[in-house]
């Protein structure tokens, strides 16, 4: 019991850093796939009060500048991929050929419902070239997706 309390208190004292850094280190969509979710102790403290740390976010339309996408209300493919931890969900869905993250990506790119299964299939078939290496960044992934779409007769109309 004492230990638990002590651990709780210690967790508390490490608070102060920023909990979420969408866009990852270096900003400019430089976040890489399979990034770790750093700053977990901070995160635990924030959940103590179901809250957020530091800044208030209300989702303003002007929040779409370089590093921080947490405030952006509308999505396009790239700022979705820049959300921390989302790119690996997209990678998993692409590898399998289906999934909610991949569906959401297709919606955010603007693919019409009738073309979504084609989009998913095409992404699935080109998985190795889209996620070409483990250090691929959100920006590179997005540009790889675009070039795969361009070489598909139907999907080319979206780019």
């Amino acid at each position: 019991m004492k230990k638990t309390l002590l651990a709780l208190a210690l967790v508390g004292t490490s608070f102060g850093a920023q909990a979420n850094a969408p866009g990852g280190p270096g900003c400019g969509w430089g976040n890489m796939v399979f990034e770790g979710q750093a700053g977990m102790p901070v995160h635990i403290v924030a959940t103590l009060v179901n809250g957020t740390s530091g800044n208030k976010t209300f989702g303003m339309t002007s929040g779409t500048n370089g590093c921080d996408t947490s405030g952006a209300l509308a999505y396009h493919g790239k700022n979705m991929l820049a959300q921390q931890g989302i790119m690996e969900e997209v990678a998993q869905d692409m590898a399998v050929g289906d999934g909610e993250a991949l569906t959401a990506l297709s919606v955010s790119i603007g693919i019409a419902p009738e073309d979504r299964s084609r989009f998913k299939q095409t992404m699935h078939e080109n998985f190795s070239s889209i996620f070409s290496e483990e250090d691929v960044t959100a920006e590179e992934v997005m540009s790889n997706i675009r070039s795969v779409m361009k070489s598909d007769e139907k999907l080319a109309t979206y780019s």
């Binding site: 019991m1 770790g36 009060v49 179901n50 809250g51 979705m80 959300q83 989302i86 993250a101 959401a104």
Partner: protein
């Protein structure tokens, strides 16, 4: 001259409108009260006035306490065309213009920021989201709730929805003891946040391994309009955040009540707003249309593991540590679909273990290699975890019980009352198996020859069994503090105690064995030192048999001053419908000088 006339006419018109407003009792209108967040007797604090202290939320200096004055100030300031106040309070403007029949004079079209925000803000559907219990965080122990607002009418693109969350905003370098204290007495600023829903999926389902329940609400377009317009009014408005009643769930309940003030959602007094009760209140008031279950990453891994043979499990484990296992004969002889399952399991396992902490190059490389194996093998459908029973169908969160029994030669009667919430032998439907979360659990006992006496009070009692398997090695733990009774010498003494421990548990079909190492500190009237400390162990088995739950346990504690205490017990809990249960128990307890056997039979009634 004509100008003055018009002005006069306007003035007369305005005062007429103002008079009409006060006469018609508009300040008492349920929606007006909802817009101002007036406490209509739902919680202890601030009854009859607004929950909000923030002056930015009011147009009159006494607006927080005087709904009539606030109404008149709003009529004054929202009535003129193109007024700035309209852009701050679009929902109030809608309310007044509808109630007072204001002419169409451009409405909110001059509010550029608001119009732009509304264009980008989704409002096709609204869902209440319930991430289940998170035992490692005191305020999330009972679960959490938030709202999700969708762009479209289908499940596609739910990841692109917005999440509306009410929580305390913590900014300084403070420790968590202070958090809890301030959370209880007030002093934390609470704000509404509007963040991407996918970030919430990541936080709860992916990082904290909490299952999420998504309850679709049947709000119509006009009702959703109230909600979204009012959210704009709440931007940067400071509330107080209190753990027990004025918490995340309560504020959402208020928001939903605004959309349908006649629903009676806020009519009954709410002592402590437990998130699952918010879900139930909405269900009872007819708001919930359907529900979707979103399993956590851990549940997804468990579902994958269940589909594998023992040989395949070992292969998956090996593959998650070394991708070259995919080139071995043992892996290659598997059918393509089996290879897919093994690779997915290996990948899920690897990612689950590496979601936290810094990015590791070697792990990233292996993750991608495993996904390539997944990619090259045919996908297997329907590997989602089975959907459990919705938490809203679980037993009531409050409980009273009547017990009769004997301790040694003496008969006794006992009354029990528990404020919340669940112990691991209560019916597990809708709750976490192997978890106990109890707060303010009181037992008073009348023995044949004695006066009525306190038998036990658990202020907090949390036990968490996290089963271990080949893939996952979590620790189990428990924490308990309050008052209890035990034999010291020849007599049972009341002790003020705190105890806790760490241990291991497993899941073998319906049976969960466990073991804990434990420590205890207590204060009693029999020992000389103010605080006696003890160390010991506790072990047991839970059996979730379907129609009933049973538990066996044994505990031994050795005190620093050479005292000892032993307890062994067998308990059977038989639910009779969702609201009742019968519980029978045999317990052997004692110390160095005396050991007695207790038999008891209880009737338990769950409510609220």
């Amino acid at each position: 001259m004509k100008g003055i006339f018009t002005l006069l006419a306007l003035l007369v018109g305005w005062s007429a409108v103002a008079a009409q407003a006060s006469d018609s009792g508009l300040a008492e209108h349920p929606r007006w009260k909802a817009l101002l967040h007036i406490n209509q007797g739902t919680t202890w604090r601030y009854q009859g006035r607004s929950y909000v202290d923030d002056p930015d939320f009011f147009l009159h200096e006494n607006g927080a306490t005087d709904a009539q004055a606030e109404l008149e100030a709003n009529i004054d300031q929202l009535r003129p065309p193109e007024s700035d106040a309209r852009c701050r309070f679009p929902a109030r403007y809608r309310f007044l213009s509808e109630q007072l029949d204001w002419p169409d004079d451009g409405g909110l079209s001059h509010c550029e920021d608001y119009v732009e925000w509304r264009k980008a803000m989704p409002q096709a559907r609204v869902a209440l989201i319930f991430p289940a219990s998170y035992l490692n965080s005191p305020s999330s122990m009972f679960g959490h709730t938030l709202l999700r607002i969708d762009r479209g009418n289908d499940e596609d693109g739910v990841w692109l929805s917005r999440a509306i969350n009410f929580g305390a905003t913590v900014g300084g370098e403070e420790n968590s003891i202070l958090y809890i204290y301030k959370g209880l007495v007030g002093g934390y600023p609470g704000y509404f946040n509007n963040v991407p829903y996918m970030n919430k999926i990541r936080d709860y389902a992916h990082l904290e391994n909490r299952d999420m329940w998504e309850y679709q609400l049947n709000l119509n377009e006009s009702e959703r309009e109230w909600l979204v317009a009012h959210l704009w009014e709440l931007q940067d408005i400071r509330f107080d955040y209190l753990f027990l009643d004025e918490n995340c769930s309560f504020r959402l309940l208020e928001l939903i009540a605004l959309t349908r003030p006649e629903s009676g959602l806020m009519d009954s007094f709410r002592i402590a707003e437990i998130p699952v009760n918010t879900v139930r209140a909405l269900d009872e008031s007819g708001f919930i249309e359907s529900s979707v279950y979103r399993p956590s990453k851990a549940k997804e891994l468990d579902a994958l593991i269940q589909r594998l043979t023992e040989v395949e499990k070992d292969l998956a484990l090996g593959l998650s540590q070394e991708e070259r296992v995919s080139e071995t004969d043992a892996f290659q002889v598997l059918a393509p679909k089996r290879r897919h399952l093994v690779a997915r399991t290996a990948y899920a396992h690897l990612r689950l273990n590496n979601r936290e902490g810094e990015r590791k190059q070697e792990v990233a490389a292996r993750s991608l290699a495993l996904l390539r194996v997944v990619n090259k093998t045919p996908a297997v459908k329907e590997i989602e975890p089975e959907r459990p029973v919705s938490p809203k169908k679980g037993h009531g969160t409050k409980m009273i019980a009547a017990t009769g029994g004997t301790l040694g030669e003496t008969g006794f009667g006992e009354f029990q009352a528990r404020l919340s919430y669940h112990d691991w032998l209560d019916a597990p439907t809708g709750f976490l198996k192997g978890a106990t979360i109890e707060a303010f659990n009181l037992r008073v006992r009348k023995a044949e020859s004695d006066d009525l006496a306190l038998e036990r009070l658990d202020v907090v009692n949390i036990r968490s069994l996290a089963p271990r398997n080949k893939f996952r090695k979590p620790a189990s733990w428990f924490v308990n503090f309050g008052l209890d009774r035990r034999f010291i010498g020849n007599k049972r003494h009341l002790t003020r105690q705190v105890q806790g421990g760490g241990g291991l548990s497993w899941s073998l079909g319906p049976v969960m064995p466990y073991g804990y190492a434990m420590a205890r500190a207590e204060n009693n009237s029999a020992h000389d030192p103010f605080v006696s400390t003890a160390a010991g162990a506790k072990t047991g088995i839970l059996w979730y048999a379907g129609p009933f739950q049973a538990g066996l346990d044994a505990e031994g504690l050795y005190y620093q001053n050479d005292d000892v205490s032993f307890t062994t017990s067998a308990t059977l809990n038989l639910p009779l419908g969702p609201d009742h249960a019968v519980r029978a128990s045999i317990e052997r307890e004692g110390g160095r000088e005396r050991v007695e056997t207790e038999f008891s039979l209880s009737w338990r009634y769950y409510f609220d």
